[in-house]
Amino acid sequence: MSGVHVSTTINGDPVEFACPQDETLINSLRDRVGLTGVKEGCGTGDCGACSVTLDGRLVCSCLVLSAEVNGKEIATVEGMVEDGKLHPLQQQFIEHAALQCGICTPGILVAAKVLLERNPNPSEEEIRYALAGNLCRCTGYDKIVRAVQAAGKEMRKKSR
């Protein structure tokens, strides 16, 4: 089996690992780096549970080969807590009961964070389309959209 050596930055920390050439990023993150907050719902790019950012861009880590991330920066849900404090999205998801089983939550949080960084004041429709790649089977999305709205509001207040 021919392998590759990958050197990357994950949630701000330098990380190196070796893996088979055809290994997808989700498997490296979960099985080699220990970041099991990255979830696999489909492995085919259809559910968004594996969402991470790659140099700030939202990707499905099940569709990225680990060999491609050499020298790049990855952020996962595990990196959202800053200085021991939950990110406003994380806090609002808890307060709004925006999760039931919670398996979709890591991916949705990562996707929502990217949205709010680009568009601090999204409309309901913008939120719904931004999250359309993240399946949630439990909630009907109602409380998720509300939690994202509340987090956006909180973040706008803070940045003022």
Binding site: P20, G41, D46, G102, P106, L131, R137
Partner: protein
Amino acid sequence: MGHDSTYTNQKFKVVGTRVNRPDGVDKVTGRAKYGADAYAPGQLVGLFLRSPHAHAKIKKIDVSKAEKLDGVKAIITSADLPDLTGDDRDLTDILENCMARGRALYDGHAVAAVAAIDMQTAKKALKLIKISYQKLPHVTDVDQAMEPGAPIIHDFVRDRKTGKPSNVCKISQFGHGDVEAGFAEADVIIEKTFKTEQTHQGYIEPHACLANISSDNTGELWVTTQGHFGFRSTCAELLGMDVAKLKVTSSEIGGGFGGKTHVWIEPIALALSRKANRPVKVVMSRDEVFRASGPTSATSIDVKIGAKKDGTITGATADLRYTNGAFPGFWAMLGSMISFACYDIKHVKSIGYDVIVNRPKVAAYRAPSAPMPAFAIESVMDLIAAELKMKPIELRIKNAAKEGTRASYGPTYGPIGIGPTLDAAKNHPHMRARLKKNQGRGVACGFWFNFGGQTCVDLNIGIDGSVNLIVGTVDVGGSRASLALIAAEELGIPYEQVRANVGDTASLGHNDMTDGSRGTFSSGMATIFAARNAITVLRERAAKTWDIPLESVIWKEGAARATGKGNSNRPPLSLKELAASAPNTGGPIAGHNEVVADNAGVSFASHICDVEVDPETGVTKVIRYTVIQDAGKAVHPDYVEGQLQGGAAQGIGWALNEEYVYGDDGCLQNPGFLDYRIPVCSDLPFIDTQILEIPNPDHPYGIRGVGETSIVPPLAAIGNAVSNAVGVRMNHTPMSPIRILKAIEDSKA
């Protein structure tokens, strides 16, 4: 000691508040551990080889090449799984479903499994296993499977009358009165046939487990499940182990909706581990989840309802045909019980036909079997209303079941919520909102039984007075928060002082699955009794401390208080103080309860839905949706609302998009989320909820089951709304653009 479960109408302090759940932080930070998130030193990767045929004889399995591959540690076929099931046919079916025995019965049926040192090796090994199949005739459609001459799937299933082999494994009948007399009284009679396609629960987390059996036949299983005690019994029986020697831990569960009440991969993972003498982790792919776990039934249903001019229903019948997948089940039986449960009908009869087809073995899916007859019956209700020029909601109100009504499935109702939800729907602003062009509104009702069952909890009071509540019902959507609220209420302490955990099978007695909406109802009841049990101990300790009789000590607001002559100036002893002094007053303080929670309290809902249908494309958009449901006491309203919204969303997907598509070869053509499309965020509006609280008389807090009823009305509510929008009656779910366009076209012809 018996416990009184009668409802007492007490004022609540913490129950009913919207607290943060105890597992919230873990779940938003990625720390929560689900089925696939456990790792053991030396673990192997387990993979399955599955049948590519809908029905085939397995003539030969040759594993010799695969076995020789470096890194392969175990291979399992049915030859490695002796049948230890005795005459328990259900268990034999489970064994055969986990691993084909001589015949593959559906596309995706497991035929072999390997455990290897890594994924690459395991995949290679699967390719090296050679199987020679002889294809057999197959049938996947329910009506075709009932026809004479249809391919027979199991020889042991016989026609009740002729004794000949048949695919109909069960015929069930419910009802009362004389339906012919009922129809004779009717001024209008409407009869119609409906079809619903098969759908999947669609939980986002695939089945996953980590199995570890040692050479002394003791072991551990970490698994995503709705019921680790049930999984333990089934696995132990299939593998010839003592239940006490298999410790099953339920992981956090990434959705189940009924689909995780059955074993699929787990017994095989254990068998692989036993053979390899190493831990084995098995995680299903999404393709496997669709092809080889348990979706719900496809159905074909005839409904006939007759009514008088004033709207009184005089008679009603339903013939219900349900696919069961490749093994016998009782899904049509449930359907025939549920069909007319919302209404008070003098002459009523439903007959259910459970039918075996070459599809995966059907599993429960949220209010299993209920949405399909609701689709058929609630559609015919609208047709009757139209014929009588009545408002559909008025027809329903007129015929709604009430306290004292004899249900079509037998029992007589106590206080129930169908009437109140209909009244609330009638008065809801949603009903008065204006509709635009191409828009339509639909109303529909739904019912679910709710279950209770075997439950036990431990409530341990720590030395610092904090309380550890250990429950045995898996938390599928926030029940730890609800149960901690109940413990706090009963003990008179703040919610934050209680921590609820789900115990593994080694730390608690048997608990039935989290199914039938029983989690909060039954564990809530056991929690109340366990807390009362602990309070008695606390009072004893206080009485001992004060040296007064137990009867003079009461428990109020989180503290023991002395009452009676000469005691009134003793300062109360709080839970914290009593906990701290426990080492000197008799040792650790705990409460326990074991109960069979009965009378879960039936549940009813009424939904209102507005849709807009594009007449060019046939695409339907849900523009407004309102759920009104009787929840009994809503312990944690956020999570009750969540259940109502989530069930509605699943029902919307079922109504409009989701279906198993089988090719002529009997193989599933859309085993992935791309082609089996569940609702995404941009497909749905906010889903309004209105919770009615009609207390369950048989629960101390009035709690009823909540989680399932919300999936029952949507198929019909949307069916009625779409039919009103396009002016053509829809009778087949999903109401996909193609079906809607075809219905419009057919109506013009």
